[in-house]
Amino acid sequence: MKRAIPILAIVTAVLLSFALYEALIGAPTERTMGDVQRIFYYHVPSAWTAFLLFLINFVASIVYLIRRNPKADILALVSAEVGVVFCTVVLVTGPIWARPVWGIWWAPGDIRLTTTLVLWLIYVSYLILRRYSTSGQTPVIAAVLAVFGALDVPLVYFSIWFFRTQHPSPVIGGGGSLDPRMAHVLLINWLAFLCLAFLVGWTRYQLEVVQREVEEAQALESLLEGSR
């Protein structure tokens, strides 16, 4: 795996550059919104990547609650952390896109926007809990929070199917039509973001493993100093 990481890093960099070129230049210009619609190629793939990472967090949390496997706990932590990064991108690019199109930065009370913000707050709370709680039960409490927090993911996704909202209908699978060239650029950008998420997530996973080993060594050191 160590040899595969530099190769994946190069592939990710090339893919991200190509995806950026396609998003800014290659994709056709949308007739109604013009060039600002190109934000779509970063906004939507970031949302899909965040959903996928929160799903991984959900599964890993359940596995941890059943088997108490530390690897599942680390995977849950890492997927939540990287998921929050992608969800932040969604919450920042959304209003930047909304301002020129809707005339407002944020539509207060809009179900899609509100549930997305709540989702972000849930996972930020999860990370704060993991960072500052000193209880030995922290991984269990965090896993329970993650299981309940994940319930918001389908709510965010399906909110635009069942409620009237300022947010547009889903472009894929929601009755909307998308130019095949736009769909192609969208999928290239999603693939690039998935590679980035995997690369960053894997690096963060290794970092967490080493950090826990260091913390164990520090605890052992304190114990030895105490017994002298």
């Binding site: 950026l20 060039d35 896109w97 050191e221």
Partner: protein
């Protein structure tokens, strides 16, 4: 166009900030590992 560039720049600032946090974390762990080895 300024909104478009603002969104793309904001995206990379967010990812860059997270990567910088990871690099800082890595340096901290590395320093601690070296101290423990002594």
């Amino acid at each position: 166009m300024s909104y478009l560039y603002a969104a793309f720049i904001a995206t990379w600032v967010i990812h860059g900030t997270y990567l910088a946090i990871l690099v800082r974390k890595y340096s901290k762990i590395r320093r601690e590992m070296e101290r423990l080895k002594k």
